[in-house]
Amino acid sequence: MPLPDDLVAQIQHRIDTAGHPREAAVDVMYALQRHYGYLCDEAMHYASRVLGMTTLELESLATFYDYLYRRPVGRYVIHVCDSVVCWMFHQDSIFDYLCRTLGVPPGGTTEDGLFTVLPAACIGNCHNAPTMLVNGRFYDRLTPERIDAALAELRQSTEEPVRCK
């Protein structure tokens, strides 16, 4: 399937406005990830062609960074902070509660393709611990009840999810 013209134009614009095309590597992968849902092989090959980088070079980025996905993920990617401040509040319960409620192991995606749960390094919201980030939006001072409410709200949402740009 060819990529939509506006996406092709957007990617080309990003490369053209970068001083060096390589600087746009992550942005191009983000754009393709938003389109395909994850970085499939087709996306990687396309990125390699337009950036003038080898797929191996791009692979070394895509597999290194936390917010690039080489495997399909859900519509909502939940990054649960498990750094030490959030840990001291939720210990094991918040993360486990989320996995239990959604019926997925850490890193897993729900069967309906809606949610992927990933542990995350500190997300910079320690004063509101414990916290998680869902497609770029912070959810603060989590309790099982607040998690239930957040999941219900996300299930209802018809909004296009805001992935990290």
């Binding site: 746009a24 992550v26 960074y65 917010y67 498990d82 004063h127």
Partner: protein, 454 residues
């Protein structure tokens, strides 16, 4: 709470929204820039910063002016300023607060730095969970450009400089200067060992100044009010300026507080952050982000400043204070930190790549009640070996680890004696980490722990 200490960086704090350019200007914003471009030489600005003794707020505390002096004077060609907003150290969120309070203070600071080092381009390096900051900085840079404060011929002079935002895809090691430069260049962000400093050979092999965002936000004040004013803001004899302290953990009012450098830890925790929540007693404090040691309460009267902390064998770091209470297991907390460092290691050099999973494994045994006496010496040896790693990452990870044994070894031994966690924590599950039960397709380099011979 009434804050009666001078607010320089957060003076335009409004609830839930950033200050506009008009609000910033009403308080003297961009006056420093107007009094600089075309009126002072870059060398004069550098001199002000040197006299003010502005030290880097990103953790290492290196004097900003000295770093700028590292650019070869005779260099002809592009120079860059990279603004480090990666901030992925657990406990640290000050830069996010600062951008969201006063984006133009940050922008003016970046422009002043660029003027002093004669840079033509600035790159704000921003982590993915700070996407809203990236958008805000882009929008406000556009506003600054419309006002002639950024872009070509700033304020009608021949000085041109522009800022753009580089979005990272998220790894802690990107906070290290040379790794950050590689990340911007579309390379795998491993730190660079040895070789020329980034101020000599950085982004695209050109001289590049990598400074923390908070460091640069101090520049408008220094340039407008002078170095003596800046020094007088501090409470300690060796300090200068104010500092953003991010306070988190078991305190009544966690948050980001701007206080004079040199404010004692006790005052920060008990006066500004509201003290301990009811029923909680302070056991330990990590004073400056996850790469600084656990401190017992006997250090609470230390002045929070680079020199006094160093003299006491402590580290100021990013001044991101994490407070632990009597009910929190410090072996569990250290294990959590080692899980973090293991996952975030770039995996380039052996002491870090091998050392971290090794100590993590031993800590898991201790926390799970299977620890043995000899594990203590094994961990200490490994932590010392981690100090000879390629970059400051592994030595940073060794700080909380070694301090656990220095100050809280009794707690570790209690785990050995009781053959379980005395705080009742369940045996640690290897959940959600780069190895163990987690599918290896996500996150960093898969760890071969399943075949781990230990």
């Amino acid at each position: 709470m009434q804050i009666d200490t001078p607010q320089v960086l957060l003076k335009n704090r409004h609830l839930g929204r950033p200050a506009t350019i008009d609000e910033y200007r009403a308080g003297g914003g961009y006056e420093a820039l107007a009094a600089t471009v075309g009126k002072r030489t870059p060398a004069e600005v550098l001199q002000l910063v040197l006299e003010a003794d502005l030290r880097g707020r990103g953790g290492a505390g290196f004097p900003a002016g000295k770093k700028w002096q590292g650019i070869p004077a005779d260099y002809v060609g592009p120079r860059y300023v990279v603004v480090n907003t990666d901030e992925m150290e657990p406990g640290t969120f000050k830069d996010r607060i600062l951008v969201n309070v006063d984006p133009h203070l940050v922008i003016e600071g970046i422009i002043l730095c660029a003027y002093a080092v004669k840079a033509s381009e600035g790159v704000c390096f921003i982590r993915p969970s700070y996407e809203s900051d990236a958008v805000l900085l882009e929008e406000q840079s556009r506003v600054a450009r419309e006002h002639g404060l950024l872009g070509k011929n700033i304020l009608g002079t021949d000085f041109s400089f522009d800022i753009h935002v580089h979005r990272s895809a998220g790894r802690y090691i990107c906070g290290e200067a040379s790794a950050q430069i590689k990340a911007i260049s579309g390379l795998r962000p491993n730190p660079r060992k040895g070789g020329p400093r980034t101020s000599v050979k950085g982004l695209w092999d050109c001289p590049t100044i990598v400074n923390n965002l908070e460091t640069l936000a101090n520049l408008p004040g220094i340039v407008r009010n002078g170095p003596e004013w800046f020094k007088s803001l501090a409470r300690s004899a060796t300090g200068s300026g104010t500092k953003l302290f991010s306070v988190s953990g078991r305190v009544a009012r966690p948050g980001c507080y701007e206080l004079p450098i040199g404010t004692p830890l006790r005052e920060i925790i008990y006066t500004h952050a509201g003290g301990m929540p009811p029923g909680r007693v302070l056991k330990a404090v990590i004073p400056g982000g996850a790469s600084t040691p656990f401190m017992p309460d006997k250090y609470l009267d230390l002045e929070m400043d680079f020199e006094p902390m160093k003299r006491a064998g402590q580290r100021f770091g990013t001044a991101s204070i994490m407070v632990f209470d009597q009910n929190t297991c410090l072996v569990g907390a250290t294990l959590n930190l080692m899980e973090f460092f293991t996952r975030e290691s770039c995996g380039w050099c052996t002491p870090c790549r091998e050392g971290l999973p090794y100590v993590r494994h031993l800590l898991r045994l201790i926390e799970g009640g299977q620890g043995r006496e000899e594990h203590i010496a094994m961990i200490k040896d490994a932590a010392k070996a981690m100090r000879s790693a390629y970059c400051a990452f592994a030595p940073g990870a060794a700080e909380p680890l070694l301090s656990l044994f220095e100050y809280f070894e009794a707690e570790v031994r209690e785990h050995l004696r009781q053959k379980r966690c005395p705080f009742g924590n369940p045996p640690p599950a290897a959940r959600g980490k780069a190895c163990g039960t987690r599918p290896p397709d996500f996150g960093p380099t898969p760890c071969p722990e399943d075949q781990c011979p230990i």
